[in-house]
Every structure is written in structure tokens, then in C-alpha cells.
């Protein structure tokens, strides 16, 4: 297996280990990115329909900033 260095007789095991690491890191990152997009879209749709928490509506009426969830 040619990688610019000689990995010896067990090169396939070394390349497989790094390949699996890339797979795991990519899967974790993709899961989080896709989930973020999905949650952001759901929140935007709900807020566009006027859905807010009661505490936020009260704060908006009284002109305060509301740090709720």
C-alpha cells in the first residue's frame, strides 16, 4: 500500500484503523450538522407562525429582553 511511507506488512490494519476513525468522525459531525439544520428549520417555522412562550410575549409587551428557553 503506497502512502509515501512504508507501513510494513500490517499496512492494511493501519489504514483500516484510520479509515474507521474517519468514518466515525464524519458520521458524528454529519449527524450534528443535519440535526442542527432540522431544529433551526422547525424553530423558524414555529416562530413564523407566531408561536412564542407566554413569558416572551409578556416581555415583548413590557419592552424587556427575555432570556427564556
Amino acid at each position: 500500500m503506497e502512502l509515501g511511507i512504508d507501513l510494513g506488512p500490517h499496512a492494511a490494519f493501519i489504514v483500516s484503523a484510520y479509515g474507521f476513525a474517519v468514518l466515525i468522525v464524519t458520521a458524528m459531525t454529519a449527524w450534528i450538522v443535519v440535526d442542527h439544520r432540522r431544529q433551526a428549520r422547525s424553530l423558524a417555522e414555529l416562530e413564523a407562525r407566531g408561536a412564542t412562550r407566554r413569558s416572551e410575549r409578556t416581555a415583548r409587551v413590557s419592552g424587556e429582553s427575555m432570556p427564556g428557553t
Binding site: G8, H10, I14, A17, Y18, A21, H36, Q39, L43, L46
Partner: protein, 244 residues
């Protein structure tokens, strides 16, 4: 911003938005440096080039255990202090911990085959690490089984604290039992037994993987906060529609 302000999920989310790009860049830089060091690291006199597998395997093992340790602290936060972000932290750390533990198990097997002549052996270190992976799956299943996040958090917290008993078993298994797995060689009384030319890439890769964990964990926590906000708003809409 005072530390107590971070207990507020919206403020935490705003902080995550600001910190994540920097953490992401630091992770990429650390991996670039670590992989370069790993690439040019000399062969071990016994393991040959397979020592390069250790630069992935060892950090993955540490992070698999660290994630459970973090979940245990968060479990205390849930059960004792009822901290609003504690169960968010625990829930989002579980899949990441499971992934790192799986990475540890698979890369360990890939190293074991050429070095020990077998992919797997039921010795105490390998078995206790497998138990950790199965416990991660159990906690993830528990979170998915119970709809109410509060109830799920308390059940998962109890399971997490009981499961924390596995951490010292993993760590000291190589001392308490006669195992095929080698004893501690980095963090041990009397200092590391690894040559500096191999220890440096190992530590830099460990830093890179740790930065990756915190980047992904922070991003996953932000997602979970958003998911809970969506859930709250949907329930309020359903209540409003029902009250009409």
C-alpha cells in the same frame, strides 16, 4: 457573563454560537499537527508501524471514559441540583461517548490481530471496555424510551451513576487481573514508559480528539436546547388549539 448565567439555556446557546467556530478551527489545527506528527513518527522496535494505530486507539479509549465521567457529573447535576443544562449535557454526551468507545474497540481489534494474533480476547480490560459500550447503548435507549425529558433524565442519571463503577474497573483492570492488554504506560507512577518520539504524537492526537469531543458536544447541546424549545412551542400550540 457570570458562570451562573450559563444555566440559562438561551444564554448558553448564544455562547455556543460564539465559541463553536473557534473550537472548530482549534480542532482542525490540532488534527493537522497531530496527523503530521503521527505520519512522521518512527516505528516502534516491537510493534513496527502498527504503533500508529495507538495514536487513534488510546485517545478514543480516554474519551470514551471521559464522556462517561462527564455524564456522571451531569447526573449529579440532574439529581442533586436539578441544573437545567445537566441533563442536556448528559444526553448529548452519550452518543459521542459510544462512538469513541466503539472506535477504541475496533482500532484495538485491528491492532490486536497482527500483534497478539487475535482480534478479540475476553480479558478484563477488553471486556470492561465492551461493557462500557453496552452501557452507552443502554443509556441512549433509555433516553429514547421515555418521552418526558425530565423523567428520562432522572432514570438515565441513576443508570449513569451506577455505570460509573465500570470506570475504575477499566482503569485498574490491567493491575487487578492478569491481562493480555499491557499495563498503563502513559499515566503511571514513575512517569511514562513511552519514548518521547512516540509520546508527543500520542499526546497531540489526544488533544485534537479532546477538542473534537468538546466541539461536537457543545454543538449537540445547542441542538438539544433547540429541540426542547421546539417541543415546548408545539405543546403550547396544542394546548391553545385544545382550549379554543
Amino acid at each position: 457573563m457570570a458562570l451562573i448565567d450559563l444555566a440559562n439555556p438561551s444564554r448558553f446557546r448564544a455562547l455556543a454560537d460564539r465559541v463553536l467556530p473557534w473550537l472548530g478551527v482549534a480542532t482542525v489545527v490540532a488534527f493537522a499537527f497531530g496527523l503530521k506528527q503521527a505520519y512522521f513518527a518512527p516505528d516502534d522496535y516491537q510493534q513496527g508501524a502498527t504503533v500508529k494505530i495507538m495514536f487513534v486507539h488510546v485517545p478514543a479509549a480516554w474519551l470514551g471514559m471521559m464522556a462517561w465521567g462527564l455524564m456522571s457529573l451531569a447526573a449529579l447535576g440532574t439529581l442533586v441540583w436539578r441544573h437545567p443544562l445537566a441533563d442536556v449535557a448528559a444526553k448529548t454526551a452519550a452518543p459521542l461517548g459510544a462512538a469513541f468507545t466503539l472506535l477504541c474497540l475496533v482500532t484495538g481489534s485491528l491492532w490486536g490481530r497482527p500483534m497478539w494474533g487475535t482480534y478479540w480476547v475476553w480479558d478484563a480490560r477488553l471486556t470492561s471496555e465492551l461493557v462500557l459500550f453496552l452501557m452507552y447503548l443502554g443509556v441512549i435507549a433509555l433516553w429514547r424510551t421515555i418521552d418526558d425529558p425530565g423523567r428520562a433524565a432522572r432514570a438515565a442519571a441513576v443508570l449513569t451513576l451506577v455505570g460509573a463503577l465500570d470506570l475504575p474497573i477499566i482503569k485498574f483492570s490491567v493491575d487487578w487481573w492478569n491481562t493480555l492488554h499491557q499495563p498503563a504506560s502513559v499515566f503511571r507512577v514513575g512517569g511514562s514508559t513511552i519514548d518521547a518520539s512516540l509520546l508527543m504524537p500520542l499526546l497531540i492526537m489526544a488533544i485534537a480528539f479532546t477538542l473534537l469531543f468538546f466541539t461536537l458536544h457543545l454543538a449537540a447541546m445547542r441542538n438539544e436546547i433547540m429541540r426542547r424549545r421546539v417541543r415546548t412551542l408545539l405543546m403550547m400550540q396544542a394546548d391553545a388549539a385544545g382550549g379554543r
